[in-house]
């Protein structure tokens, strides 16, 4: 009897201690989430006030070419950034793990883009890619409209996105690689494995849980891309319709046109998309992620 009472008190303390986080989460995440779902079924006034309209917002976005173009832009951006970005991050992580001089400095350099404000990153790259005065076109004697040619804009933004994220992903993967026990490699080299075989049969399976986390995070971040496009492409660029992402479309509907209901519908569609892709990854991971240590 006495024991259960004590347990109850412990529970109470436990709830009390997590309360700040949980309350914050409810106010800042769960409540807006639920409210956004409700709003997506409403026609909203600019300064609040809403009127239930059922599926009208969804019917309108699914019927608009702009939405499908934005969806494709976003998916295309993910196809470019996620596999290439994570692959490059893995290579960087392996290199940073090697016995080379000054690797702490290299780690800092690779991590640096993560510390810089995305807006600053975008502005600098925008000038690097400028087709009239940019350093890339000047040095390589090109005439490419990196940020104005509808076919080039998404790859350009993808390059910047990969550059920005590579250090962070590499540091996560590096921690995964460093957790692998040295004894595996010793045993493998005794058995005459090449470095490539060691990578394939030891490093890759052992780092796969971390790789999986990085993959999911990168994918979600890429599906939510907004700031880079806003800064590098922006309003008034003729290539905007061929490069705006779903979240950019959400921004325009909600804050420029002031239609919060429509904006919410776009964002809910994005969440469903993220959910589906993430679910597929969780099913797929059983085939390649190794949790046995």
């Amino acid at each position: 009897m006495k024991k259960t009472k004590k347990l109850g008190q412990d529970n109470l303390w436990g709830y009390l201690l997590i309360a700040p986080t949980v309350i914050g989460l409810f106010i800042l995440n769960v409540y807006p989430f639920v409210d956004t779902i409700i709003l997506s079924f409403c026609k909203s006034g600019v300064f609040g006030g809403r009127e239930f309209v059922g599926l009208e917002n969804y019917a309108e976005i699914f019927g608009s070419q702009e939405f499908w173009q934005a969806l494709w832009n976003t998916v295309y951006f993910c196809i470019l950034t996620v596999p290439v970005g994570v692959f490059l991050a893995l290579i960087v992580a392996i290199l940073l793990n090697a016995k080379i001089r000054g690797k702490v400095v290299f780690r800092a350099i690779f991590f640096l883009p993560m510390v810089v404000a995305p807006a600053a990153v975008a502005m600098v790259w925008k000038w690097i890619f400028n087709s009239e005065y940019g350093i890339i076109n000047t040095v390589f004697h090109l005439d490419a409209g990196w940020i104005t040619d509808p076919n080039l804009v998404i790859p350009t933004v993808a390059i910047v996105a990969i550059w920005s994220a590579i250090g962070y992903d590499a540091v996560l993967l590096l921690s995964g690689i460093q957790n692998i026990s040295k004894t595996y490699y010793e045993a493998a080299s005794l058995d005459g494995c090449t470095k490539l075989q060691q990578f394939r049969y030891i490093t890759l399976p052992m780092v796969s849980p971390t790789l999986f986390v990085v993959l999911i995070m990168r994918l979600m971040a890429s599906l939510k891309v907004y700031d880079l496009i806003y800064m590098m492409v922006g309003e008034g660029n003729p290539a905007l319709s061929k490069s705006q992402s779903l979240i950019y479309l959400f921004y325009r509907e909600s804050f420029i046109k002031g239609d919060k209901g429509m904006g919410s519908a776009i964002v809910i569609a994005t969440v469903v998309l993220i959910g589906i892709i993430t679910a597929i990854q969780f099913v797929g991971q059983k085939k390649w992620v190794n949790y046995e240590v």
Binding site: P32, N130, I147, T148, P238, A239, V267
Partner: protein
């Protein structure tokens, strides 16, 4: 399994972070203690606004006014969020783009009692009205558009400077000569409504909206012809493409000596003079060229817009804010604004204060000629549903430029977009 579930939950939580985007906002309100917050969107005008505030504070030592300048995009996000939570800045600027949205929602204080319409230019007063015809702001300024030309390039090409009698044909001929002689751009026609095709439409006798704002007029022949003409300018070798403008704006091209002419708002001129001191005396401004064969009228027109000062209908410092608003609209307040050189006061007869500043600073630009344009100014195109159609129309124009739509398809699409937005509003 438990581990997997936790991870899924974590992933779902990460997904909800998308909503962080829609949950931001901040308040700019102050308590009723004589401290007033005055929010504006143009940092270039901050010193001018501070000068007015200081003059007011000298007479009213119990009042303290803080001027806050934020970027254009952020300004409207902030103002909207603060309007919802009734914590608006005590005084703020209201653009005619947004006037109807805010006034019609009952957010702005009625300023009829402190505005004597006779004191201000008609356009400025019209822009301070809501859909119901009541005045919801104190007229701040009025603006106009100028043709900027680079004298050095004209000299180099041996072409005579633009005059007030210039027509569109003179401008395109000069552009061609300049391009042939120097390889530099002539008139740089970038995608813009107020500083671009609207002026051409009204010069040609066309209209964007009917007089009462209830009908779209894009497909009217006079309107459609002028839009085609303006967009068609880009086909010429002497005009940069919209891709070129995305890499470097018209003003950068102009002041780096790569283009001979472009249109700019008068509100930019003082900053341009200050930014490019080396160019002083090498460029000048004049009135917009007129249409040579208008469908209606004399071929003269220029779009004129204005900003108003406003306060919330139910602000905490309502009385103090109204008093300061009255000062902002007074001759003294308007004079200080004119002397800051950035905006032409809405107050009648004070245009010269703005013109004089340029001479006082030693800027060799003939801005006085622009004042004549107020005789034939056209009020900025606006109606209650503008907020909805404006971004859509802008996108359509860009789609025409990019070749995704033909001009005819595009004009029809603009007509439909505006018609639909108006219908939805009612």
């Amino acid at each position: 399994m438990n581990k997997l579930w936790k991870r899924t939950l974590a992933a779902a939580m990460a997904g909800t972070m998308v909503f962080g985007l829609s949950a931001c906002g901040s308040s700019g309100g102050a308590e009723g203690d004589g401290n007033l917050v005055f929010m504006i969107w143009d940092s270039g005008q901050k010193s001018g606004m501070e000068a007015i505030a200081e003059a007011y504070m000298e007479e009213h030592p119990d009042v303290n006014i803080e001027v806050q300048a934020v970027g254009w995009d952020e300004y409207w996000t902030k103002l909207e969020a603060s309007a919802k939570s009734n914590s608006m800045p005590d005084i703020f600027w209201m653009h005619s783009n947004q006037m109807y949205t805010y006034a019609d929602a009952g957010i702005l204080a009625d300023c009829t009692d402190i505005v004597d319409e006779a004191n201000y230019s008609e356009i400025s007063v019209e822009n301070a009205k809501g859909s119901d015809g009541k005045i919801y702001g104190v007229p701040k300024d009025k603006d106009t558009i100028a043709l900027l030309y680079n004298k050095e390039i004209f000299d180099e090409a041996g072409v005579e400077y633009p005059t007030a009698e210039w027509t569109w044909d003179d401008m395109t001929e000069a552009s061609q000569k300049i391009y042939d002689a120097t390889g530099k751009y002539g008139y740089m026609a970038y995608s813009h409504d107020q500083i671009g095709y609207w002026d051409f439409v009204y010069q040609n006798g066309g209209q964007i909206l009917s007089d009462d704002g209830t009908k779209a007029m894009y497909t009217e022949p006079a309107t459609a012809d002028a839009i085609k003409y303006y967009i068609g300018l880009q086909q010429n070798d002497w005009c940069p493409t919209q891709e070129d403008f995305a890499n470097g704006g018209a003003s950068e091209l102009f002041f780096s000596g790569q283009g001979a002419m472009y249109y700019a708002g008068n509100w930019d001129l003082a900053n341009l003079c200050a930014t490019y001191p080396d160019m002083n005396g090498k460029w000048d401004v004049t009135v917009l060229p007129k249409c040579p064969d208008p469908a209606e009228g004399d071929g003269r027109a220029v779009i004129s817009n204005s900003v108003s000062y406003a306060t919330a209908a139910e602000g905490k410092n309502h009385d103090a804010a109204m008093e300061f608003l009255e000062f902002l609209g007074s001759e003294e307040g308007q004079r200080i604004q004119g002397e800051s050189g950035v905006a032409i006061p809405a107050y009648n007869g004070l245009e010269d204060t703005w013109v004089q500043t340029f001479a006082d600073q030693g800027y060799e630009v003939n801005v006085g000629s622009l004042i004549d344009q107020f005789d034939y100014s056209v009020k900025y195109v606006n109606n209650a549903s503008r907020r909805v159609w404006e971004p859509e129309v802008e996108q359509t124009v860009l789609d025409i430029y990019a070749g995704n739509l033909t001009v005819d398809e595009g004009i029809q699409q603009m007509q439909d977009q505006v018609t639909e937005a108006i219908a939805e509003q009612q």
